[in-house]
Symmetry: C2
Subunit: 562 residues, 2 copies
């Protein structure tokens, strides 16, 4: 069995100008980064307006250690659509650099359903994340310099909310004291670093629709508070122009290709807990402008990823999906049903049935909360038995949804043709079944209070009995509504492993409540983050980090990246 990197390196990619031609990008909008990557000038959207294509969201059950294959399915579905003759462009998230050196492998799909060049995509790619890190850290330097030079804006140094970032798994930087060494070297205070993808700039970047929108969002970032709790913004520091200059090229979507030559934009990748977890609006819009079908994905399970895609990204960008694919694996469903990872390859219909409610509840949310057409993609593994597959299919059919076997990791686009056919059927016949882009509803209205929005998500999507706000969270909610942030959508920061806020409650738990401990505003991104527990925004390396096994030879060929 070949590794992902071996499969990726075995394919001779087409020159990116050919892929651009296939996608319908005129050459003058193309900025090459080597022969296999290019940025596409966003002016294309204004200069050559297109009728937008169908938008297909790929989401998944709650993740388990057994793996689901959401990105793989997204890539394979795009290839499958192309195989059945459709004009398709994928829109995917950019992977973060740091975790590549930790325990996780790359994040560009797997097997025969990958985007390439996978090494580049997993390493520096076109430098977008470096630009985001630089903009983030410029703002941080400007904050502390402002304080050093007299603190005219009156920062309370105990209430600076803007952290520095680095795109590396570096637990040592989670909690630091900086500004030591005497008065020439800053003002001592507590601080900490996040990984770059957790920066609000990442979320802003993914929601921005133009340079001027980006700049306005950057200016609105709340970086800290005064002693009497008045917010101080990046705009008050006059930082937005220079930050925007650092981000101007990054804002252009990156065009690459799948192993089968399908055009794919890979652009932006915010956290799916403290942020909204999907690729840039720029990339989605461009993929929809160029393709008759745009296949895109959201982070984590559908309770976090799809909810935010629909309630935040679609709301802010005015998008309406035409179909939703929920990815599941038989092995992961058995895990939800109580089988440990080591035993998920053995047939176990009882455990599968016990785990299936996780899938079914996500499906039900898509069809009944969001009123969208839905299909389940069963990402097949060799050890799945017919009885298991049939059980999943039967249970889904009971909800009026087809479950389609997908074999894209093993067979590429050919293994995704059946899924593609069902997706096309949903897109074209949506209205006939009473659900389509035109019936799409949000989980909550704009004008609900922040607490009501959180309660709507908790009860309607998570199926919790209700929400408990800590006294601190109540105070913060009141403060944010006072400051005028009450009209924003809510971004839930919750464990990805469960519908609940307890990572151990698998399946489709009932009889639980959600506890909101902290609420903060990402004013530039335009949402209020509700935290249900400690969310790790800086990962660490493990006992045997992947970095130790990565190498490169004299020809520049990388090994050990997986």
């Amino acid at each position: 069995m070949l590794s992902d990197i071996e499969i990726a390196q075995s394919v001779t990619p087409e020159h990116i100008s050919k892929i651009a031609e296939r996608a319908g990008v005129p050459q003058e909008y193309l900025e090459m980064y080597g022969n296999y990557k290019a940025k596409v000038d966003y002016n294309l959207l204004n200069d050559h307006p297109h009728e937008p294509g169908k938008l297909i969201l790929v989401t998944a059950i709650n993740p388990t250690p057994a793996g689901e294959g959401k990105t793989t399915t997204t890539v394979g579905l795009a290839d499958g659509l192309r195989k059945i003759g459709k004009n398709v462009v994928a829109a995917l998230r950019e992977p973060s650099l740091g975790p590549v050196f930790g325990i996780k492998g790359g994040a560009a799909g797997g097997g025969y359903a990958q985007v390439i060049p996978m090494e580049d995509i997993n390493l520096h790619f076109t430098g977008d994340f470096h630009a985001i890190g630089a903009a983030n850290n410029l703002l941080a330097a400007m904050i502390d310099n402002h304080i050093q030079q007299g603190n005219a804006l009156g920062f309370d140094v105990r209430k600076i909310t803007w952290k520095r970032c680095v795109d590396m798994n570096d637990r040592q930087l989670r909690n630091i004291v900086c500004g030591l060494g005497g008065k020439a070297h800053g003002v001592p205070r507590e601080d900490g670093f996040d990984i770059t993808v957790a920066s609000e700039i990442m979320a802003i970047f993914c929601l921005a629709t133009s340079i001027s929108d980006l700049k306005e969002r950057l200016a609105r970032i709340v970086v800290g508070y005064t002693r009497d709790d008045q917010p101080i913004t990046a705009g008050q520091l006059h930082a937005q122009g220079a930050m925007c200059a650092l981000l101007k090229d990054a804002l252009k979507p990156n065009l690459v290709q799948t192993l089968e030559g399908t055009p794919a934009f890979v652009h932006g990748g915010p956290f799916a807990n403290i942020a909204h977890g999907c690729n840039s609006i720029m990339a989605t819009r461009m993929a929809m402008a160029l393709g008759d079908y745009c296949v895109t994905e959201a982070g984590f399970g559908a309770d976090l990823g799809a909810e935010k895609f629909l309630d935040i990204k679609c709301r802010l960008a005015g998008l309406k999906p035409d179909a939703v694919v929920v990815v599941a694996t038989v092995r992961a469903l058995k895990n939800h049903g109580g089988v440990p990872k080591a035993k998920v390859t053995e047939e176990n219909l009882e455990a599968l049935e016990a785990g299936l409610p996780n899938l079914l509840q996500h499906v039900d949310n898509i069809t009944n909360v969001y009123k969208l057409p839905c299909v389940v993609a069963i990402n097949r593994f060799p050890h799945d038995t017919d009885a298991e597959l049939e059980l999943v299919e039967r249970k889904c059919r009971e909800l009026g949804v087809d479950a389609v076997r997908s074999e894209v990791a093993a067979r590429g686009g050919e293994g995704g043709m059946a899924l593609a056919e069902e997706v096309v059927r949903l897109c074209e016949q949506g209205d006939a079944e009473g659900r389509s882009a035109s019936t799409f509803e949000f989980c909550y209205p704009d004008d609900a209070s922040l607490a009501e929005k959180i309660e709507a998500i908790a009860t309607r999507v998570y199926h919790a009995d209700g929400v408990d706000f800590t006294p601190n969270a109540k105070k913060q909610l009141a403060q944010l509504e006072d400051l005028g942030f009450g009209g924003m959508p809510v971004c839930m920061a919750k464990t990805q492993y469960s519908f609940s806020d307890d990572p151990k409650l698998l399946g489709a738990p009932r009889g639980f409540r959600i506890t909101v401990r902290n609420v903060k505003v990402s004013a530039g991104a335009g949402f209020v983050v509700a935290l249900t527990g400690d969310i790790m925004t800086m990962p660490g390396l493990g006992k045997d980090p992947a970095a130790v096994h990565i190498d490169v030879d004299e020809t520049g060929k990388i090994t050990g990246l997986f």
Copy 2:
């Protein structure tokens, strides 16, 4: 009078493939980064061996607040050589991102002698510095993770020498305590950040001659010491493969153009105090392979920049310069003669004569210590008087060296033709005057002790009476020689403003001694750094940082970068 960025933006650049053609780079070795930047595959050097062209080093008097224009002269000389019909390729340093937002403007030349696209070159360019920062910080994360996971190598956490870095002027990070927050979050210890250009990886990157040489150098980096003072290397952490994977594309020289379309490699930019301060060996070799003339520059004044170019870079790379240009301005020489910056525009022959020894001593060092042909470039300003210019010319002639008026900032290559003619004469007639590449001598031999090497530089180049080593420095010297680092060249970390270690001693001081306070090894780079005082490796922002004035409009056009 147009600003540098206005001049740069007023020129329509040629497509980089045209520039590559002019330089003789076959298209298949070119990796485009947009239309005006490209990386050139270093395999070109092996696949198409060329007879190396003449190597011309541009250096300068000790810098003053009045400015010298070294990069401007380097660019203008290249354009001048092209104007007189020569096949020329420039090799320049990449500017650091952080200082762009501080007080200094860009670092891509000035006026009509610039490399473009200047905004890109001054911002992210092709991402080399981001790659260096990532490799630096991966190593840092691996060190602290190793300690967190049990510290099998026995790091003394008080003796970790490897610092994290960020490419930002951020004084707040100079001195920190990291690893706080409890046992899941690292081991508390003192630490600090350098600006990225100060990372040893930058120096390594600039001295590496291939992927495998790069990897070997990375493995040799000393990152800390055990309790009993045994060095621990990056190789012992198995970090070199992953670091090298991060750097593999960065190692390819970046091709751009001057405003007049002359090919220029802009690649690598290490500090000129704690490191050797010149562009990559890769870029210099490639420029020499492609051009009949390669014009390159060194950092700061000739006492630091040229000394290191000659004693470190030329020694390690086996290079021999054919001519040296020493850049001076009348205004800066008056500053050396005691005139404050505000008055340097007034004619003052007395002050000029008092300041001239600074220039003359640099010239004398080049011709009599290094035995190289030399020309002085007087970077002309409108307020320079004929009497002043003639005084400089006469004094130089007394040393047997021509001083040539250069007007490249105002007139581009045309203003550099006279200088170009003299450079060509020196290169072609070198031997006739008893000095040429073949007479080139180092300041000290490889087999001198570290202390002897430092003394040779101090007495022969700085003209100090001698060197005092603090007890600490003596102990460190003995330790480094014990560890087998005695055969390395020495990299002096000294103020750039004076021949001495006192920044206030301008001109050509006499009767002083140099004090060496600390000595440390950059084992990967391959030199021993001798520190004569506190060298700032992390700048800060000022009261009115440049960042506040930088902006970008909807078309992506940047303003305020100067």
